[in-house]
């Protein structure tokens, strides 16, 4: 079992609903305009944006960026207390009770996929009504690092259900919040080790590439190049 994701940039419309779905699913704090201005935002799923040229002659590129869930994760390599670790199923997880907030993993991540809880988020009281009640994604405390976990709470629930029913987990049975909400159906999630799975087949596509592949981090998030 090796969870992976393939994002088809040709199908991505840059609607950013994946970023929003991720925030609600994982209780990622929102930021005020002032906090955003100072760069104190947290995005587990971010949309990398690049625009060339001057209006009206512009060209743009959008890349949804979750955590790359590297197979040889540089963050895990440097963590001094073992707060971030690679699970047997390939997910790079974060132990929020262990993290001391030294930010070494953030420095070591070439993708900028990790965020720091700079301060207490300022939100209206009503926001609590929309929070995900799952204890595994309870709000992180100030002073520690957090990042995309491939919605491990959904993965673990589905795997446990399949095991209880005594059957192998089906392809497409688990979907991360971003994959579920993606309007263009651009995000596929599944088991890279299963050669028949959708992600494994898409990963074989000639359009497939990995971000900063040359660094040898072996990301399990792949992209399909725009046609």
């Amino acid at each position: 079992m090796r969870w992976g994701m393939v994002i088809d940039l040709d199908k991505c419309t840059a609607c950013q609903s994946c970023a929003v779905a991720c925030k609600t699913e994982n209780n990622v704090p929102f930021a005020t305009p002032e906090q955003s201005e100072r760069g104190h935002t947290i995005f587990w799923m971010d949309i990398l944006t690049r625009v060339w040229g001057e209006y009206p002659r512009t060209k743009a590129r959008f890349i949804p960026r979750p955590c790359m869930q590297c197979d040889s994760p540089p963050c895990v390599q440097v963590c001094p207390v073992g707060a971030t670790y690679r699970r047997p199923d390939g997910i790079v997880a974060q132990n929020y009770d262990r993290c001391i907030g030294c930010k070494y993993c953030m420095v070591a991540c070439p993708y900028g996929a990790r965020s720091f809880n700079m301060g207490r988020p300022e939100e209206p009281e009503t926001f609590r009504n929309y929070a995900n009640p799952d204890g595994r994604v309870a709000r992180r405390r100030v002073g520690i690092v957090e990042k995309c976990t491939f919605c491990f709470q959904r993965v673990d629930t589905a795997v446990a259900r399949a095991r209880a029913e005594g059957r192998p987990i089906k392809d497409g049975e688990v979907r991360t919040a971003c994959a579920q909400t993606c309007t263009g159906g651009a995000i596929a999630f599944g088991d890279l080790d299963d050669p028949m799975s959708r992600v494994a087949r898409l990963a074989e596509s000639p359009r497939a590439f990995r971000l900063l592949d040359e660094l040898g981090t072996k990301p399990k998030v792949l992209y399909l190049m725009e046609g």
């Binding site: 001094p80 993290c99 001391i100 900028g112 301060g119």
Partner: protein
């Protein structure tokens, strides 16, 4: 050998230990006030609200605190170099300052750990570093090596000071208990016991040298093993840190010794300042050489990510730091140290005139120079504050030569070495800043994230100053507890 009583009594060494004067209390109160200011901002600002009160943001995670950590680990090298020269190579001139140098090494290293403590987001979990260490992390290697080095330095300090503490028991009967406590109750100063101390000290000095090399290498590897930041990931990082540590460490020892000379009127002979100056003068070119080797490799290959960082350094936002480090932090002190001390007034005037003429000529000629000459240095054209960069660089060089030719020959060796040491220490601090900050601001995928910004905030600066004030307090206290110079030096006077 000197005796502790009678006309030969080393007044200048014993005087600082005697009593507590008004000035001392004033200095103590001043440092305490600064510490209190820093502590206030740490507890009621940074810890109460989180790191959002600092200038750190989503593009830079290690800022002022880590710069100071790296700098302070570096300057702690001075103690070991001086001690090694004094104890192993028996370089007599450094015997009188070896104790001060070791004290500094210990204090700087403790301050460095304080900077790590304030830099982390969850200080209540600081002890997790000892409870759940992951031995694969360079940060844990650093914890181990810092602890080892601290213990070693303290052991060396103890062995080198014990005999004097026992002697002080006789000189200051009122504080007998204190000195006995500091000597850990071991009061045997028979020649045999002293010889044993010396032998042990020499052995520890031998052990301390590789330990110090490891200390600075591991601190470099915290950054140098990280492939995610272009320009950190170079095998030159560790040797560069070792050399930077030597340069800044010796500079800080020189500053410390001169401050002790000014404040407590400790008799320091010119030979000592000249010796420190010589070590500096030999190590500065090595540092310059390493920087040059690194820059040539990057510039020649033009490999995108690192090349962009170097361009940012040489001509971009960090250019003021870079050129200040190069000109004011390396070239100027080097000239200060190697310039012949005496020059006739006529020669000095002629040199100043020549320098001015050269600078002016360059400024006038530049716009008309052929484009191929201008292309020698790419990106020549961006401007700082409306004036082109070559102007600033030439102005810097001209003022440098002016200062050298007019001021240098007339000053004492203390002033020259002290000035050079201050400049070098400042230069290395800027170098550390460039190394720590710039590769974070100019990251991979910068075409998407955009170049980052970092301006330290006031609470961050206050905490930093507060930690340095802790160091000031430590030195004040140490000066009352230990004689700063060995009381009995073999053949100390010529």
């Amino acid at each position: 050998m000197r005796s502790l009583v009678g006309p030969d009594r080393p007044e200048h060494i014993l005087r600082p230990l005697e009593g507590i004067g008004g000035t001392y209390l004033l200095a103590l109160a001043g440092f305490l006030a600064v510490v209190a200011l820093g502590a206030y901002h740490l507890v009621f600002n940074q810890w109460a609200r989180g790191l959002e009160v600092t200038g750190l943001n989503s593009s830079i995670y290690w800022g002022l605190y880590i710069i100071n950590f790296v700098f302070l680990v570096g300057v702690s090298a001075g103690g070991i170099i001086v001690a090694a020269l004094a104890h192993i190579l028996e370089f007599k001139a450094f015997r009188p300052i070896s104790r001060m140098a070791e004290m500094q090494a210990i204090v700087w290293l403790i301050l460095a750990t304080l900077f790590i403590f304030v830099s982390i987001g969850s200080p209540d979990r600081f002890y997790y570093l000892l409870l759940y260490p992951r031995l694969g992390s360079p940060l844990i290697w650093d914890v181990i090596i810092i602890a080892t080095y601290l213990i070693l330095a303290m052991a060396m300090g103890y062995l080198g000071t014990r005999a004097d503490l026992v002697r002080c028991m006789a000189v200051f009967p009122g504080r007998r208990w204190l000195f006995r406590l500091l000597a850990l109750g071991y009061t045997d100063i028979s020649p045999a016991a002293l010889a044993r101390d010396r032998r042990l000290l020499k052995t520890l000095s031998w052990v301390a040298i590789p330990t110090a090399v490891l200390l600075h290498s591991i601190t470099a590897w915290i950054l140098g093993l990280v492939k995610a930041r272009a320009s950190w990931h170079t095998s030159l990082m560790a040797p560069l840190f070792v050399v930077s540590a030597v340069v800044s460490g010796v500079a800080l020892v020189a500053i410390g010794v001169l401050v002790a000379r000014a404040v407590w009127r400790i008799e320091i002979r010119e030979e000592v300042a000249r010796g420190l100056g010589t070590v500096l003068a030999f190590s500065i070119p090595v540092l310059g050489y390493f920087l040059f080797a690194e820059f040539l490799t990057i510039a020649f290959s033009g490999e995108t990510a690192t090349f962009e960082i170097v361009m940012e350094l040489v001509w971009g936002r960090f250019a003021p730091f870079f050129w200040a480090n190069l000109i004011l932090g390396l070239l100027l002190p080097l000239f200060l140290l190697v310039m012949p001390p005496r020059l006739s007034v006529g020669w000095a005037f002629a040199r100043a005139a020549a320098a001015t003429a050269f600078g002016a000529a360059m400024l006038v000629i530049w716009p008309w120079a052929g484009s191929d000459v201008q292309m020698l240095l790419p990106a020549w054209f961006p401007e700082w504050g409306g004036v082109s960069q070559p102007f600033w660089i030439l102005a810097g060089l001209v003022s440098l030569i002016l200062v050298l030719t007019v001021v240098v020959p007339s000053t004492s060796v203390f002033v020259r070495v002290g000035t050079a040491a201050l400049l070098v220490a400042g230069g290395v601090f800027l170098e550390r800043t460039n190394i720590v900050v710039l590769p974070q601001l100019h990251r991979f995928l910068v075409e998407f994230y955009g170049p980052g910004r970092y301006v330290p905030t006031w609470p961050e600066v206050a905490v930093t100053i507060g930690i340095y004030a802790v160091g000031g307090l430590a030195f004040l206290v140490l000066a009352k507890l230990f004689p700063l110079v060995e009381l009995e030096l073999p053949d100390e006077r010529p």
